[in-house]
């Protein structure tokens, strides 16, 4: 075990997979000499050469489209979108095309590609360096969407994503990059896509969350220990497909669920989790399925007081837990 940051975990996962499998390569803006704007591919150009580390023009649709083409022809591209906010031009190639490759060819072709992007806020990124983008992809059959929260998960899941035979959207919360550290095994491991992880066991209230928010939820869970509330925290890790079994198991156990995410509420991941619970565990509910999510504004404003007002923190979460516990 070694202590790593999320960024290091991402870097190492890609590096190890590129060493292991020559069909894996990276492409994106500034990933070559610069090593990526967050340094996720630092040293890659030196190690793997410019054939496998491709600095692209500023043209996101083609980053996705070229990667998709290469993926259908035996390669395993990892395409980096510099910020989640710039991922919109890829929707046509990802939602419109990549997601339908297998179905539309009845399995004759498939697209083993990863589209990575740092996303999320709390970094003074303002409207255009803070957006949450997971819901757009999570709605789409044919895609997988991974949103890790810890270095351990990030590394194990990214390796699985690279080996997966279908398109995987891999969303790294940029605030976790250097902030979140954790133990990572020195030996090779992978983690299954589509499996949630119980990050804390408890009996009174369940919080279901993912990404950066996990850490605030864990903090809040500790805070409310003082109120004698025993909180269970389920980290979804993958938001498509959702781990329905895990969601229902914890719901049956505690009977009270709070869903927390940074993305705005309407049609966010929490909507689907809530609906799944209603449909399948209605009898087990001891209170309404609650959601604590980003406000219905376009994204985080820039000025610190405004950004703070957007962000969900452990205090807001603790309040929601208390409310639900009292129900």
């Amino acid at each position: 075990m070694t202590i790593k940051t999320v960024l290091e975990a991402v870097h190492d996962a890609m590096q190890e997979e590129m060493r292991r499998d020559e069909t894996v390569f990276v492409m994106g803006e500034d990933i070559g000499a610069r090593g990526g704007v967050f340094l996720a591919t630092e040293g890659f150009l030196q190690e793997f050469g410019e054939n496998r580390v491709i600095d692209t023009p500023l043209a996101e649709s083609s980053i996705a489209g070229v990667a998709l083409g290469a993926a259908m022809h035996g390669m395993r591209p990892i395409a980096e979108i510099e910020f989640g906010d710039f991922i919109w031009p890829t929707i046509n190639q990802i939602v419109g095309e990549a997601a339908k490759v297998r179905y539309g060819t009845k399995g004759k072709l498939n697209a083993p590609m990863v589209l990575r992007a740092p996303h999320g806020g709390g970094v003074r990124g303002a409207l255009y360096h803070s957006q949450s983008v997971e819901a757009f992809f999570a709605h789409t059959p044919g895609l997988k969407v991974v949103t890790p929260s810890t270095p351990y998960d990030a590394k194990g899941l990214l390796k699985s994503a690279i080996r997966d035979d279908d398109p995987v959207i891999f969303l790294e919360h940029k605030r976790t990059y250097r902030l979140v550290r954790g133990e990572v095994p020195d030996d090779e491991y992978t983690l299954p896509i589509g499996k949630a992880d119980l990050k804390r066991e408890g009996s009174d209230v369940t919080i279901i969350t993912y990404g950066l928010m996990l850490h605030h939820c864990l903090e809040a869970a500790e805070t409310v220990e003082m109120d004698d509330i025993d909180v269970e925290v389920l980290d979804l890790r993958t938001v498509r497909p959702l781990d329905t079994d895990a969601i229902l198991a914890t719901t049956r156990k505690t009977g009270k669920v709070l869903i927390v995410h940074e993305d705005n509420k309407a049609l966010g991941i929490g909507a689907e989790v809530s609906a799944i619970i209603s449909e399948n565990a209605f009898e087990y509910l001891d209170g309404p399925v609650a959601r604590l999510a980003g406000p219905e504004i376009p994204a985080m404003p820039f000025a610190p007081p405004l950004e703070d007002m957007y962000m969900i923190d452990s205090e807001k979460i603790a309040n929601s837990i208390r409310q639900l516990a009292e129900y």
């Binding site: 083609s62 070229v66 083409g69 259908m72 035996g74 009845k106 997988k144 035979d165």
Partner: protein, 373 residues
């Protein structure tokens, strides 16, 4: 190459490559000398003596088959039997001439909905094609999940993923990137219309291919319309090929009704691609004799005279005249060829119509792979 993690998934292309290598295909059958003659590619078919070769006759036969099949499908649509149809009539020389210059079963063909002749040239049977239009079991590209002619046939190097115009252009470039990375000598030809040239994806893809000198042929079938929108509302310039220079690749305008000119231009572009000189943009000036699709009514936006005028350079007629004038074809043989084509298409129609609809067992299958998640 390091261990393949998904041999079972990506095997089709590999098999196709091996098959091509085994068959010893290295270059097309028409001699190189004629195709490297710069002048000839600008000569109109009608002013030209046919090469002393049986291939032109064979190409004529295939063109007749395509035209016959195309007319049949259109008729089936009019009878309410076949689904929406985008006719290739007027595009055949561009399609057959270009495929002829490439290596079937090895090169990759990113096509679009109007490329009926490309499908035939690459090996799809008329029965298989009609099955697409009547959505029957055994349709080889998508199992009748998609619109006719859409899906993929990896063994033949056919990819026609979607109806979203221009999305396949960067994908084809990605296929070429893969070829380059693997050290293959494969060319990717990407067919698209004048309409598609306006899309952002076309720009991004051409630029990417030029930067990396990828083995791509951008083959624009310019029929002067995107559905009803005429060229003047699509661009302020006279040709799509004029864009090539701004990307750093050659742009070649060719008479798309002249099968030899198309063949030669494509062969040269393929040579450039294979020798590491990068992509080319060929603009084949073709004609669209029918409405955009069987759902369209082009009388709303263009005159009958315009179509009649265009028919003067019908690629079928042009090749026929050449074969007559060089005495490779006579009336008797012509009738035989027509008859053969009708019979093939008749049988195909019957077989396709008799086939059942696909079963619904697979309805939920192939959303993601079994090995995945």
């Amino acid at each position: 190459m390091a261990e393949q993690t998904s041999d079972h998934e990506n095997g089709a292309f590999e098999r196709a490559v091996r098959a091509a290598a085994d068959s010893g295909i290295t270059k097309p059958t028409i001699s190189e000398s004629s195709s490297t003659n710069q002048e000839s590619s600008k000569t109109r078919l009608s002013n030209k003596k046919a090469p002393d070769s049986p291939d032109l006759l064979s190409m004529y036969r295939r063109m007749v088959l395509c035209r016959t099949l195309d007319e049949r499908i259109w008729m089936l649509n009019r009878q309410g039997k076949a689904a929406i149809m985008a006719s290739s009539q007027g595009h055949e020389a561009g399609q057959i001439g270009s495929v002829e210059a490439l290596q079937k079963g090895y090169d990759q063909f990113y096509i679009y909905y109007r490329d009926l002749a490309v499908l035939l040239e690459l090996g799809l049977t008329p029965t298989e094609i009609i099955k697409g239009f009547v959505a029957k079991e055994g349709e080889p590209l998508s199992g009748a999940r998609q619109f006719p002619t859409h899906g993929a046939h990896p063994e033949y190097g056919i990819i026609n993923l979607s109806n979203v115009v221009a999305t396949h252009i960067p994908q084809g470039v990605g296929a070429a990137l893969s070829a380059k990375m693997k050290g293959e000598n494969r060319v990717v030809i990407i067919y698209f219309g004048d309409g598609a040239s306006s899309a952002g994806d076309c720009h991004e893809a051409m630029n990417f291919a030029a930067i990396h000198k990828l083995p791509v042929i951008f083959f624009c079938e310019n029929n002067k319309y995107a559905i009803s929108v005429p060229l003047k509302n699509q661009m302020a310039v006279g040709s799509v090929a004029s864009r090539a220079e701004g990307y750093g690749m050659p742009g070649i305008e060719v008479d798309g009704c002249d099968i030899i000119a198309v063949y030669e231009a494509t062969f040269e572009a393929a040579q450039r691609a294979r020798s590491g000189q990068g992509p080319s943009l060929i603009e084949a000036q073709v004609e669209r004799y029918l409405p955009h699709t069987s759902d369209d009514d082009d009388s709303i936006y263009r005159s009958q005279e315009e179509i009649e005028e265009a028919k003067k350079r019908d690629p079928l007629k042009m090749l026929k005249d050449l074969l007559y004038s060089s005495e490779v074809l006579d009336e008797e043989q012509e009738e035989l060829i027509n008859k053969d084509a009708r019979q093939i298409v008749n049988e195909a129609t019957e077989e396709a119509e008799d086939a059942p609809y696909p079963e619904t067992d697979d309805f939920f299958k192939h959303v993601v792979g079994d090995s995945s998640v």
